[in-house]
């Protein structure tokens, strides 16, 4: 169960030989299980008779835990705490104080000590204090790791976002440069194409910003959600209508098959986002004259929204990349299709928010099938009325 055996270094700094030997032998074969992180800790003890040699050793070897005598012959424990150790907030220090006075304990804590042990102490007192320190160290280390990961994720997100925002600006800048230099002569009409493309890129950028705001609002819980009973078929039909024009332009047929009586208790706008994204993708990435099949069905205590298309499909490597922010599959078919690469990421976030899931199956050259599952709610005569019980999705 405790897969990882981790060795922590503990240094005891005390001029009393008895303390050094005692601490070493008591802690030598102590192990400790930390259930919160599933690891087992073992200690490796080193001992130092004076502050100077301990401080010197820190250049090459930093312990995670220090038992530090406050009164040492040369440089004192308090000084070390205040000086060298203050620059190492990850080291957990336990002060050993000769006089169990409250003041020295308070002072040590103010200077950053985690705990203190009053001399003389029993082996059990030592073990309890060290155990506490180990626990503190492990949790603090984990918190630091998570913070670090969060920073990395944030940096990557901002980097990609910056790139996504700069691309349209660069494109428009390029066209302005050509227009400014009359690259196609003095006839204004010659530049219509560039102006049209510039507008499209700016529109795409605006959509990206709006999508990003939607996404952030949902992720941060800032959006006020109004869960209400919704008939699934109505949601599907509205999404199909929204894509009607785009589908007609490409000669694409959209069919809807719905099991009767399917409903869901959810925020309308969020459900619309799921349906719109799936159906718009199925149309956008379809081939001319293709079809889109939307099927609504019940799977035990869930409803399933399945959107199948006869488009260009994706390879296994490509589908593995889907559902993350800004992911777009670039190939000859998708190159000229505008999009922010946020749609599926949003679908995934929303589905999990409702305790559901999303999955994809796709075959290059044949088509794709996206399936979203959401918790089912029985639709009765009382849809929209008071019959349905409000359930808390918070």
């Amino acid at each position: 169960m405790y897969s990882e055996l981790e060795t922590l270094k503990l240094a005891v700094v005390d001029d009393e030989l008895g303390i050094r030997l005692g601490v070493s032998s008591i802690l030598a074969d102590m192990t400790m299980d930390i259930p919160d992180v599933g690891c087992r800790i073992r200690l490796q003890v080193s001992s130092w008779a004076d502050g100077e040699s301990f401080v010197g050793s820190l250049d090459s070897n930093v312990p995670q835990i220090v038992l530090l005598d406050s009164k040492l012959p040369g440089i004192g424990g308090m000084e070390i705490l205040e000086g060298t150790l203050s620059k190492r907030p990850d080291v957990v220090t336990i002060m050993i104080t000769a006089y169990a006075t409250l003041e020295s304990a308070v002072r040590a804590t103010k200077l950053g000590a985690y705990d203190f042990l009053a001399k003389p102490f029993t082996p059990e007192e030592l073990r309890v204090t060290v155990r506490k320190a180990i626990h503190h160290h492990v949790l603090a280390a984990q918190a630091r790791r998570l913070m670090e990961e969060k920073r990395t994720v944030r940096f990557q997100f901002i980097s990609v976002l910056a790139h996504e925002l700069k691309s349209p600006i660069n494109a428009v800048d390029g066209y302005l440069d050509l227009i400014r230099n009359r690259m196609l002569g003095d006839e204004l009409a010659s530049y219509d194409g560039m102006i049209e493309r510039s507008s499209l890129r700016i529109a795409g950028m605006r959509k990206l910003i709006n999508d990003l705001l939607d996404l952030t609002r949902i992720e941060s819980g800032q959006r006020i959600r109004n869960p209400e009973p919704l008939v699934l078929e109505d949601l599907a039909r509205a999404a199909l209508e929204g894509q009607e024009n785009a589908a007609r332009e490409q000669g694409i047929r959209i069919d809807l098959t719905a099991e009767p009586g399917l409903s869901i208790h959810a925020d309308r706008m969020e459900m619309e986002m799921i349906f719109n994204n799936l159906v718009s993708n199925a149309v956008k990435y379809n081939r001319p004259g293709g079809t889109v099949q939307v099927t609504l069905s019940r799977r035990e205590d869930q409803v399933e929204v399945q959107v199948t298309d006869t488009g260009w499909g994706m390879s296994a490597e490509e589908t593995a990349r889907l559902f993350s922010d800004f992911v777009r599959i670039k190939n000859e078919h998708t190159r000229d299709i505008p999009g922010s690469g946020l749609g599926l990421s949003l679908v995934k976030k929303l589905s999990s928010l409702y305790g559901g899931s999303v999955e994809v199956e796709s075959e290059p050259g044949v088509g794709s099938c996206f399936r979203v599952r959401l918790p089912f709610q029985l639709s009765s005569a009382g849809i929209g009325g008071a019959v349905l019980k409000e359930t808390d999705h918070g």
Binding site: N170, D173, G174, D177, M194, R197, K330
Partner: protein, 130 residues
């Protein structure tokens, strides 16, 4: 005038490059990604390659540059790399100041001004072949 291959995944940047270079009398071929660009370079045998650093993933253009340098047929083709990477990655990549780490001959920062592009292109084409 020269044969120039432009590799970029942004169709509007491709449009800009094509118009600018054609107006200066060059013959232009294009490719939308590193793989297609490399393949095209082998048949088109251009005098110069304009290569975007940041295509589908952050290293695609860099990889393509190395592919070009590793191929006997086209290894000496000058490469002009398009970047907008500096601001995004801070100190992680210092491309401009350190072209020795990348097998390319010069850089143009996006947004590209047609004047700068043409100047750099002429300079590279005028360079004696290595």
């Amino acid at each position: 005038m020269a044969n120039i291959l432009c590799i970029d995944d942004d169709m509007d940047v491709i449009e800009f490059l094509t118009l600018t270079l054609k107006a200066a009398g060059h013959t232009v071929e294009t490719a939308p990604d590193g793989k297609a660009g490399f393949a095209k370079a082998l048949t088109f045998l251009p005098d110069l390659i304009v290569l975007d650093v940041m295509m589908a993933n952050t290293t695609e253009g860099v990889g393509t540059a190395f592919d070009i340098r590793g191929n006997e047929k086209i290894r000496h083709t000058p490469i002009l790399m398009l970047t907008s990477i500096n601001q995004e990655f801070g100190n992680a990549f210092k491309l401009q100041s350190d072209s020795s780490s990348l097998p390319v001959d010069d850089f143009v920062e996006k947004p590209i001004a047609s004047k700068t592009l043409l100047e750099k292109v002429s300079r590279l084409l005028a360079k004696p072949k290595a």
